[in-house]
């Protein structure tokens, strides 16, 4: 029974999440700041590594105005939901960990970059601590000689997700860093 429920969750949640994100995008009005040089880089075909905090993941498919990006997503079940959701936006994912400097998890991302794709990474994810960058992002930037473009998102009206929902956005192993930025 649990297996069946699991399968249903894996099919239904990404479908609904994709609809929700698209609905939000269609009803919201957006401002893009400092996008000129970023867009120019993409138009010129220069590869980039996009980096954003795990907590600002939701609308990030719309921060990349191109096709051809691969995102590093954790191997957890939540990661599976995220991977399936972003796939509906045409975003590929590789599974692994960027945390604690384990280059092993970055191999897939490295391969994707070598094949000419842009990369996206949450330097504080998936295990946190929130808003502390782990070394993975700069390691892969150094190894591939690509610039990291830091990206942030904010909204005029928002709801902070409660603890339960935030399991998707984690709080495990929290120590410090979060206080440096407002929630």
């Amino acid at each position: 029974m649990k297996k069946i429920l699991d399968k249903i969750t894996l099919a239904v949640v990404p479908f609904l999440a994709h609809l929700l994100i698209r609905f939000l995008f269609l009803t919201m009005r957006f401002t893009y700041i400092n996008f000129d040089s970023y867009r120019k880089m993409l138009e010129e075909g220069r590869q980039i590594i996009l980096a954003f905090w795990h907590g600002r993941l939701l609308m990030m498919p719309y921060s990349y105005p191109k096709k051809g990006i691969t995102v590093l997503v954790s191997q957890s079940r939540d990661g599976e939901l995220i991977a399936r959701t972003v796939k509906r936006f045409g975003i590929e994912s590789v599974r692994g960990s960027s945390t604690r400097g384990k280059f092993g998890g970055l191999k897939g991302l490295f391969k994707a970059i070598k094949s000419g794709r842009d990369a996206a990474i949450t330097p504080d994810g998936p295990l946190g601590p929130l808003r502390c960058a782990q070394t993975g992002a700069v390691q892969i930037a150094a190894r591939t000689n690509l610039p990291i473009i830091p990206m942030a998102f904010g909204a005029s009206k928002k709801k902070l997700l409660d603890h339960g929902t935030r399991s998707l956005c984690l709080t495990r192993f929290q120590k410090g860093c979060l206080s440096q930025a407002s929630r």
Binding site: R131, P147, K159, Q180
Partner: protein, 58 residues
């Protein structure tokens, strides 16, 4: 999570460049640079509409 029909802002930051020859100390410097930049941008994104709102009122 943003509300439907609200306003959103994306802010791109200055690129963080870690050269191929970067050693451990340099990598740590770049890691901190990325962390600081992301935190500053996120704070700026969060304040963006609050400040606009108060300007409109004043």
């Amino acid at each position: 999570m943003p509300y439907p029909f609200s306003k959103g802002v994306f802010i791109a930051g200055e690129p963080v460049i870690a050269g191929k020859e970067a050693g451990p100390a340099e990598l740590e410097k770049k890691r901190l640079e990325l962390e600081t930049r992301l935190n500053e941008l996120t704070q700026r994104a969060d304040r963006f509409f609050a400040e606009r709102h108060s300007k409109d009122e004043g």
